[in-house]
Amino acid sequence: MFGLQNPTKFLKFAKLTGPWFALASALLIGSGLWFGLFSSPADYQQGETVRIMYVHVPSAWMGMFAYSVMAVASAIALVWKHPVADHIAKGSAPLGAGFTLICLVTGAMWGKPMWGTWWVWDARLTSMLILFFLYLGYMALAGAFDNAERGAKAAAILAVVGWVNVPIIKFSVDWWNTLHQPASVTKAGMPSVDPSMLLPLLLMGVGFTTFYATLLLWRVRSEILQTRIRNIRLAQIHGEG
């Protein structure tokens, strides 16, 4: 795609576009926060706590989106062996795990005033918790090998297997949840979204995406450079030998 599987071209691309993504995310998240915190109404049921949604929901989106990026990049790396795809998958994982963690923490902060408890086994939150563990497994596996190539390949296979499983996990958790849901919690899912809430939500969503892109470009760049340094070192070792 646009020759970006070539590390050198990717570095140029990242250098060129990185600042723009950073600027866009600052503007989008800034305005999203302003609309979300000051210029939108409080929910008639939940009051001011509804504003947690502007962070909680986009981070849930990004948690899932980053996993898909990771899985697709892994599949590309497995089939076509593009080194940049490996770096993208590896770089995406901690970002996605971070977003998922933010989603879980904000979910707990939201749950305390809403349900009176930090954690309920709500279907969405439970799925996000499992997703978080899928990320942890991926990162643990990628880092468990002395040979970085091996780790990347093993983790890529795991990402694809995990991705196939995510819908099944989601389906089973939803089914399980309807089975066990106590009556008091049923209504307290997402509040019906007022149009004035939609604007900040969308701004934050797009802002989180560009923020993710900024960080991903930056991480992939440093991965490429690290690989180069390693190769130069190797060449030196073998040159002397």
Partner: protein, 221 residues
């Protein structure tokens, strides 16, 4: 496929002669379940209520115990390379390995379940449903577990790592298996849950075989 039967025979022979693995798995399974009455009290109603979940969670953990040896021995002594070079699809050989794993862990777990049913005050009918879920569910555990076992070959701390990789993927099996027995306990229909377990197994066969074979190939590189 002659290779399938030959490898299966060899695996069973190895398990038989090296002994104790299956016994240890069953021992762990029974012992871990027996711990719970000490933890939550021996009230028969409570035990029967949590029995399906207890048995299944411990079956998951027990099935995982023996996973890290599934390919490790062959990886270390060079057998894995020769297996890959065998003139048969690697998926077929993985299928033999998975079958052997199920015969030496899944099946013994099922054999131990009636004993646990007595300890946990489970009725004969519920035990029947529990056995059905174990019969359909534990092969999935062996298939998914095989992927995990193949992925961690050559990794540091492989044994602990497998649980982190594999346990989240076991959750759907756990949910529907326990759901079926729960439903049976409350005299609700449970065949739907069992059918979903069967569907998961059917999906896990190609996924488990292909992914394990891919993982083994990259491990041998």
């Amino acid at each position: 496929m002659i290779q399938y039967w030959e490898l299966l025979k060899r695996e069973l022979r190895l398990a038989l002669r090296q002994g104790s693995d299956s016994m240890m798995v069953v021992g762990f399974f029974v012992l871990a379940v027996i711990l719970f009455p000490f933890g939550i009290g021996p009230e028969p109603g409570v035990l029967a209520r949590v029995a399906p979940g207890l048995v299944w969670v411990n079956a998951l953990l027990a099935a995982m115990l023996s996973l890290d040896r599934l390919y490790q021995g062959d990886y270390e002594d060079g057998s894995l390379e020769l297996l890959i070079l065998t003139p048969a699809p690697l998926e077929v050989l993985v299928a033999a390995k998975v079958t052997a794993h199920w015969l030496t862990t899944g099946l013994p777990l099922m054999a131990a379940a009636p004993l646990l049913a007595i300890f946990l005050n489970l009725s004969a009918y519920d035990l029947g449903v529990l056995l059905l879920t174990l019969a359909v569910g534990t092969p999935t555990l062996s298939l998914i577990g095989s992927v995990g076992a193949a992925l961690v070959l050559g990794a540091r701390r492989g044994g602990v790592l497998i649980s982190l990789l594999v346990l989240p993927l076991f959750i759907p099996v756990l949910i529907f298996a326990v759901g079926a027995v729960d439903a049976a306990q409350h005299a609700f229909p449970w065949t739907g849950q069992l059918a979903i377990l069967g569907a998961i197994l059917l999906g896990a066969v190609p996924l488990g075989l292909y992914a394990s074979a891919a993982a083994l190939r990259q491990a041998a590189e």
